[in-house]
């Protein structure tokens, strides 16, 4: 039973992070390989807002999340926007370089030690028992709930809202979208903001649950195969992919070898891609027009 709970929590973590990858890819066709570092940055920013708003945990968390919105928009506006028209690989490598830069900066500013933002915020963590003898911590449960809420809102926004539709349109045919009056740079900046925001939610909740360190970026990287397994432009796929990857990981770590934890997501990815190169629920990329 505990295994099932672990799977649920890990699925929620991966899913919450994965939707960030999907948002950016679906809208602007860019792989954001700095997502892990960006969510780590947001968690570190929580440390800072915690000291600013000592004693007001809600305010501190809200401020950190607000900052993450800003950071996402700035990353697009000052970095990725300059690369419109260059090959997609250049944009991806820029995000890789950004990730490296952020790792260095976070260590310089906050040191490489494990930090616990819950402490300055005066928040405690407790585990409560579930039927079957399993236990789940407060923040982990909150994370699961948050993931569900985020997915529900994103589905509603993208499918039903007019601007959600415009974001989808911009992802499919950017030139036509621009010709129909959609300001592409604004849409992309919005996608980046939303993506960084959802990542920040994951980062903040993980930090409050089990502390914050450089390894958080690796969790972000492991969520990437989860997004790809489902299909990089499908939110439902991200959910499904996270479930598959998380289940595989928890099972294999428990029964085979804990050291496998970093490899498993990628092995699952390779297997799935060999069977369906666009992910399980991804839209088949248009044939190259020759």
């Amino acid at each position: 039973m505990q295994l099932a709970v672990n799977m649920l929590v890990l699925t929620a973590i991966y899913a919450l992070i994965a939707c960030g990858y999907v948002l950016i890819y679906r809208v602007s066709r860019v792989l954001n390989l700095a997502h892990g570092e960006l969510l780590m940055l947001s968690a570190y920013l929580l440390l800072w807002t915690a000291s600013l708003f000592a004693g007001h945990p809600v305010l501190a968390i809200a401020a950190a999340l607000g900052l993450s919105l800003l950071v996402g928009a700035m990353v697009y506006l000052f970095l990725l926007r300059k690369l419109t028209g260059e090959m997609a690989l250049a944009a991806v490598l820029t995000t890789v370089a950004l990730g490296v830069l952020l790792r260095g900066v976070t260590v310089i500013v906050w040191s490489a030690q494990q930090q616990y933002p819950a402490v300055p915020l005066g928040l405690s963590n407790w585990a409560f028992a579930l039927p079957g003898g399993a236990r789940i911590s407060l923040w982990a449960a909150l994370l699961v709930a948050t993931t569900l809420a985020v997915y529900a809102s994103l589905f509603a926004f993208l499918r039903l809202g007019r601007w959600g539709m415009r974001m989808r349109a911009a992802g499919q045919n950017p030139l036509l979208a621009a010709q129909r009056g959609i300001n592409l740079h604004a849409i992309y900046a919005l996608a980046w903001s939303l993506s960084t925001f959802t990542g920040a939610l994951a980062g903040v909740l993980m930090a409050l649950d089990s502390g914050l360190g450089q390894t958080m970026a690796i969790v972000g990287l492991k969520a990437f195969p989860a997004a790809l397994v489902g299909g990089l432009d499908s939110l439902a796929g991200a959910l499904l992919g996270s479930l598959i990857v998380a289940s595989a990981e928890v099972t294999l770590i428990h029964y085979v070898d804990p050291l496998l934890s970093e490899v498993i997501p990628f092995l699952v990815l390779i297997v799935v891609l060999m069977l369906r190169p666009w992910g399980l629920l991804g839209t088949r990329e248009e044939l190259d027009r020759v």
């Binding site: 970095l79 690989l89 990287l221 970093e262």
Partner: protein
Amino acid sequence: MSRRPRASGYFRTDYGEDLTLLPTRLARFAVLGALVILLALPLLASPFLIDLAAQVFLAVIGALALMLLTGYAGQVSLGHAGLLAAGAFTVGILFKELKAPVFVTLPAAAAVGALLGVVFGLPSLRVRGLYLAVSTLALNFLVAYLGGEYETRRGFSTGIVVDPPSLAGKAVTDARAWYVILLAAAVATLLLCANLLRARSGRAWAAIRANETVAQTLGIGVASYKLLAFVISSALTAVAGGLFAYYRGFVSVEAFSLFLSIQYVAMIIIGGMGSLAGAILGALFVTLFPYAIEASLAALVSPTAYAGLLFAVNAAAFGAVMILFLLLEPQGLIGLWRRLQSYFLLWPFRHRPVGGARR
């Protein structure tokens, strides 16, 4: 075929002339001069510089291999560190378990590399572009896991110590000897890559990189050439990893992180994609970069202050420089060089005259 403006006077009249490596007298003199300098260096320079040069040569081998795969064949690979680790561990394991001599370990490393190349090249037949890049990430983690498993199972928790190889009965320990060996290896790799590119394989890769579908319709065996690129590139890289193991005398899984893969990709970006000279320049730049950072940091801040931060500062600076190159000069150092060339060759014009379709 060349996009660079060339000084006039060198007209090619047959394919042989088109394919020569050193077409102009200037090129021949330049290469000769470079060789002379490189061979004279160990006699004049300090041990520190010789070690630095040796590191650059090692990096050049890996960079050339990656340039072949990504820059020419167009298959993005983010798993280069995994291949280096595979080569290094092959050497280490064979040495530790079987006391195998260098004539066995290095070819074995190449074989392991080739095998990994096939395994990780197979996805490239189904998966393209960015999806492929992500699956190559798996290589890093896989090899790290296997290496880590070996280290823990056999009790070498800090790493494997490797004795220097012996050639003709004598152990190679002299720094200068290593310099020459690694220089020879780098030059051999360069020649191998240049020849592969001059031959049919090079043309096939160029076609695949430009447009895979079209290449297929032209009858180019896309699958086999892609695999060829992966296999050759991986084998070369694994050999580089093996040489690294011998040079350092030590193999441990921490040395082969994702960051190392990123560094190699940076080498080909900063150097300039699609150019062997770019791979060399990029390898030079990225290898020397940490030393430059360390030197400037030492000049600015007291040693105690930055001791713990050195790696972080390196990472931050490295990320920043990579971003600068990607934003400002995506063609890398070679791009800068070509712009400089164009400027002087076209002067007093600023651009090539834009004559378009005047029929």
